[in-house]
């Protein structure tokens, strides 16, 4: 555990799982915005509703395309028929919002009372005429961002399985194709095609804000790689075609179920790469995709160096400093790897769940980064115990703790710099372009506290308070 041991290989531990994180149903907050024609129905209790209402803050007032199907005592004791109840609510949603898809989010309660959502959905779908996708994003099984994983895994099964047959004139029917080529003449399209290397179709998975989608798509285009589609697309009706043998690559570290579904159910080939977070990660991600397609990457050296140069003003603030990840959103390994490259020492990487296969390339890259930067390799603590972690934080006195809001203020009051981890989930952090935003977040507490440091107000709890 201590820095003195200087471990050389990644060390994995598993604690009690007594940690704070967001409930996975929080994924509706960003997914309903991403998938513009969707409606998310969370089937749960007041507790779920209260969480969403508070966690989403002002978004709640913007007539969101999500709602709770709030279970009442009659639902729990099976006095009311689930099917009839869901039908009633979904008809109302169809009437009021007319979405292209209704996503049912199963919760802890539907698990416990064993409500057969997967069984009810196809039947109701037939009756209603709207696709119903079921995702069991519950707190019994998953943490925070894994909610998106369950939704995307369910959506992967809904992707069309072949490009429409009439290729020539009517190929316009292919939604993505139509969108990408929108308003262009045929010749232009043909010419554009020639900018790409001939490679098997590549579909990327993971929900990112549209600007980031464009950035990453263009980044690959520079290498002559064409992105045939994204899971999810802007609209449910535009889900990408997935044929057997297509290549897929993930953009986020928490998408292991989606990856598994794409491989096993859709017979796609997964490109296991580090994730495009930080300039180092972005470069490695592109290189890995290139290598799979037998392409020699062009200009990545210069591109990465140029980004690092632009980051220097931030990097010098954190170089040589230590960071402790309490763990709550599964981005931890990628962020730790990037921060090691920035010259930080990572003391602990807490993480809710560690898929060593899906994150294999990322883990290897973290280890390599530590060796090359000459810093100890951190312990990765799966299912951490927040109480124990706080004790370790008192011992290690890290320069920065990346943690949830439950611990941030109490740690600040004890003179420990913190960064609220959830911001990494909502900020734009992918690709070369956004590396700056990550460091903007990471250095913010340090910059703020630098300005206040002469005031002598570091510890703001009384002596008798437990430290």
């Amino acid at each position: 555990m201590t820095v003195a041991q200087e471990p050389t290989a990644l060390n994995f531990e598993c604690e009690t799982g007594n940690y704070h994180t967001f409930c996975p149903i929080s994924c509706v907050a960003w997914l309903y915005q991403k998938i513009e024609d969707s409606f998310f129905l969370v089937i749960g209790t007041k507790t779920c509703g209260y969480f969403l209402q508070n966690a989403m803050g002002v978004m709640i007032f913007a007539e969101p395309r999500y709602a709770m199907a709030e279970l009442e005592e009659g639902d729990i004791s099976a006095q009311l028929k689930d099917y009839e109840e869901l039908k009633r609510l979904c008809e109302q949603i169809k009437r009021d919002r007319n979405p292209s898809v209704i996503v049912w989010i199963g919760t802890c309660t539907t698990e416990i009372i064993k409500m057969d959502l997967e069984g009810l959905a196809p039947q109701l779908e037939g009756e209603l005429g709207i696709p119903i996708v079921v995702a069991r994003a519950n707190g019994l099984d998953y943490a925070f961002t894994q909610g998106e994983d369950t939704v995307l895994a369910a959506m992967a099964n809904r992707c069309p399985s072949q490009v429409p047959v009439t290729e020539n004139e009517k190929s316009e029917r292919n939604g993505i194709q139509k969108l990408l080529n929108f308003g262009k003449k045929k010749e232009d399209v043909a010419q554009e095609e020639s900018e790409y290397v001939n490679h098997p179709p590549l579909v990327l998975f993971g929900s990112l804000p549209d600007p980031v989608v464009t950035q990453l798509t263009l980044e690959l285009k520079k290498q002559g790689i064409k992105v045939s589609g994204w899971l999810p697309a802007k609209r449910f009706t535009e889900l990408p075609v997935l044929e057997e043998g297509y290549y897929v690559a993930g953009v986020n570290p928490f998408l292991s179920r989606t990856a598994t579904t794409l491989m096993r159910r859709r017979k796609c080939k997964l490109i296991g790469a580090p994730f495009p977070i930080g300039p180092d990660g972005t470069r490695a991600w592109i290189e890995k995709i290139c290598s799979v397609f037998g392409i020699t990457p062009k200009g990545l050296d210069e591109r990465e160096a140029q980004i690092w140069e632009g980051l220097e003003e931030y990097v010098k603030l954190i170089r040589g400093k230590s960071v402790f990840f309490m763990g709550d959103n599964l981005l931890e390994v990628s962020l730790a790897r990037f921060l090691v490259r920035c010259g930080m020492t990572v003391q602990e990487v807490g993480i809710p769940y560690m898929d060593k296969r899906y994150q294999g390339a990322e883990l290897a890259m973290l280890e390599k980064a530590c060796h090359e930067m000459g810093v100890p390799v951190p312990t990765i603590v799966e299912k951490p115990d927040n109480y124990n972690q706080v004790q370790r934080i008192y011992d290690l006195k890290p320069d920065l703790v990346i943690t949830g809001m439950a611990h941030a203020n109490p740690l600040e009051a004890r003179g420990i710099n913190t960064k609220w981890s959830v911001e990494f989930t909502f900020a734009q952090i992918h690709g070369f372009t956004n590396a700056r935003d990550i460091l903007e977040l990471v250095t913010r507490p340090l910059r703020r506290n630098n300005e206040l440091k002469d005031l002598g107000w570091d510890k703001l709890v009384r002596e008798e308070a437990k430290i």
């Binding site: 799982g17 007594n18 940690y19 704070h20 994180t21 967001f22 409930c23 996975p24 149903i25 209790t45 007041k46 507790t47 509703g49 209260y50 969480f51 209402q53 508070n54 966690a55 803050g57 002002v58 007032f61 709602a67 709770m68 199907a69 709030e70 279970l71 009442e72 005592e73 729990i76 009311l80 109840e85 869901l86 609510l89 109302q92 949603i93 802890c108 309660t109 698990e111 416990i112 009372i113 519950n138 707190g139 019994l140 099984d141 943490a143 925070f144 109480y387 706080v390 949830g404 809001m405 439950a406 611990h407 941030a408 203020n409 109490p410 009051a413 703001l460 709890v461 308070a465 437990k466």
Partner: protein, 508 residues
């Protein structure tokens, strides 16, 4: 099942946690899945707590689902007992654990054998009670537990304090302006020469609870939290209580007179009339305000009030009785206690609305078109959409409703704060309208004031052009009246002619 986007009162366990974490050195353990500990975030963020929120989770996961919690809950209780030596651990069921129907009572008994501190199971049913009811129950449960314990050990002190004294019951964490109210009440009691025997639950230690019967009376400022405890103390120890919220000039005087009566009955000889007079006329600015020209201008202006029982009832009375404002609608989301609310506001408003559905109150506001709204954060957003100013008077609230500055709602300083809040809401609205009347270039679309109610009518081009010429602040009303006119006469398309016909016919 019901379709819900928003709720006014949280789930039961939030109420239990609010009470448990208000006490000093009390730890709550939730029997809940990962992610249900959002309470910690709220407490840490909203009330900017410096200390770790003493709530942990005994995690319900797949294994628990399959095999039951077995030793897990007991282990978690005893672990917390050794780590932090709390005086009391409250095992808190959640909606999830309610359905699992594990024998949590048994876990508590087993854990109690090993634990040095006390252990109890919060007795709340998730499907029957909301946050507010659960908070009231949990406070009662904890008080009863410690008084019975003291009685069994023969440690109950006998007799009352020498001087008149009070227990202030109902101050809690995450309560709307509770800490400021508490300071104000302490000040008021000091002014009245009354000792504060205890404050519950905020900052109290469970060891002090046995001294509760020593107080001459209990003061329960909030309708939502405390009445059960006060009732219990009255039945058990004969301690009388005052449950008049001292909010507003008239109610504060009423509360003080009631206190006077109660302690004089027990042998004190006090006369607070002069104090009330002095405070009312010269210390609080509210009485003077009600005579000033400013307030005159508010006469007959329309307002809608919505919130919890305590605040909505008090504000309704202040607006109507103390400022001459026309309360067209007063409402509460405390459905379980609706009769009390009706009785309190009867005679002070045109209409009473009891609902937990934010759509219903939103539509009611759109219909009533008040000059100002006094409600929760939800009503503030309704107001934003309708261009009606809103003063926030009750939870649910955001971080800006936990001000650092001194902003009580209770007592004489509270009357000043409320006056500012009310007056500022109205003037802002006036300013807005004046801006629009003079020199405001009118590029806005037609305002649709319905929140969820759609319109089945069609405005023709010249009709809406004409409508747009009407100043913004009456445009909504004209539009609605015209549409009503058209609907009554079966007119589908509203042209300029119809608009003017409506004006002639109904004064739209």
């Amino acid at each position: 099942m019901k379709l819900a986007y928003w709720m006014y009162a949280g789930p039961a366990h939030i109420g239990t946690l609010r009470v448990a974490t208000s006490f000093k050195n009390v730890h709550a353990i939730m029997h809940a899945p990962i992610g249900d500990d959002y309470f910690n975030v709220m407490r840490s963020m909203l009330s900017r707590e410096r200390d770790f929120t003493p709530v942990t989770t005994s995690v319900v996961d797949r294994n628990v689902l399959a095999r039951g919690s077995q030793e897990k809950v007991v282990d978690n209780i005893t672990r917390k007992d050794t780590e932090e030596s709390p005086d009391l651990i409250v095992l808190t069921p959640t909606c999830t654990s309610s359905i699992l129907q594990e024998d949590l009572g048994n876990f508590v008994e087993r854990a109690q054998i090993e634990a040095k501190g006390d252990v109890m199971l919060a007795d709340v049913n998730h499907y029957r009670f909301n946050e507010l009811q659960a908070a009231d129950r949990t406070l009662h449960q904890i008080v009863q537990f410690y008084l019975e314990k003291a009685r069994k050990k023969g440690e109950l002190p006998t007799g009352k304090t020498e001087k008149p004294s009070v227990n202030i019951i109902g101050i809690s964490t995450l309560g709307f302006h509770n800490n400021h109210d508490c300071t104000e009440l302490k000040r008021l009691m000091a002014d009245l020469g009354i000792e504060v025997n205890a404050i519950l639950p905020e900052g109290a230690s469970v060891h002090e609870l046995k001294n509760l019967p020593r107080a001459w009376f209990n003061l329960v400022p909030y309708r939502e939290l405390g009445p059960m405890t006060a009732d219990y103390l009255q039945t058990e120890f004969g301690t009388p209580y005052v449950d008049i919220a001292p909010m507003g000039v008239v109610e504060t005087a009423k509360c003080i007179r009631k206190i006077q009566q109660i302690i004089n009955e027990q042998g004190a000889n006090v006369d607070y009339e002069e104090y009330i007079n002095e405070q009312t006329l010269y210390v609080s600015q509210a009485a003077w305000f009600s005579r000033s020209i400013d307030c005159q201008n508010l006469t007959g202006k329309k307002a809608v009030v919505f919130g919890d029982n305590t605040h909505a009832a008090a504000l309704t009375k202040i607006l109507s009785r103390e400022m001459g404002i026309h309360v067209v609608l007063a409402g509460t989301y405390c459905k379980y206690d609706a009769d009390w609310f009706r009785e309190q506001v009867s005679g002070y408003c045109d209409e009473v609305l009891i609902t937990e559905d934010h759509g219903e109150i939103g539509d009611a506001i759109a219909r009533a078109e008040p000059s100002a709204i006094f409600g929760t954060q939800m009503e503030r957003h309704v107001g934003k959409r309708l261009d009606i100013p809103c003063g926030v008077i009750a939870a649910p609230i955001h971080v800006q409703n936990f001000p650092i500055g001194y902003k009580p709602f209770l007592g004489y300083e509270g009357t000043n704060q409320i006056t500012d809040l009310i007056y500022n809401s109205f003037t802002l609205g006036m300013e807005d309208h004046l801006l629009e009347i003079f020199g405001g270039h009118d590029t806005k679309e037609v305002i649709t004031k319905g929140i969820s109610a759609g319109s089945d009518l069609n405005w023709t081009k010249d009709g809406s052009a004409e409508l747009n010429k009407i100043p913004g602040f009456v445009r909504g009303k004209v539009k609605r009246n015209t549409e009503k006119f058209a609907r009554d006469r079966g007119i589908k398309d509203i042209s300029a002619e119809v608009l003017y016909a409506a004006k002639e016919a109904v004064g739209a």
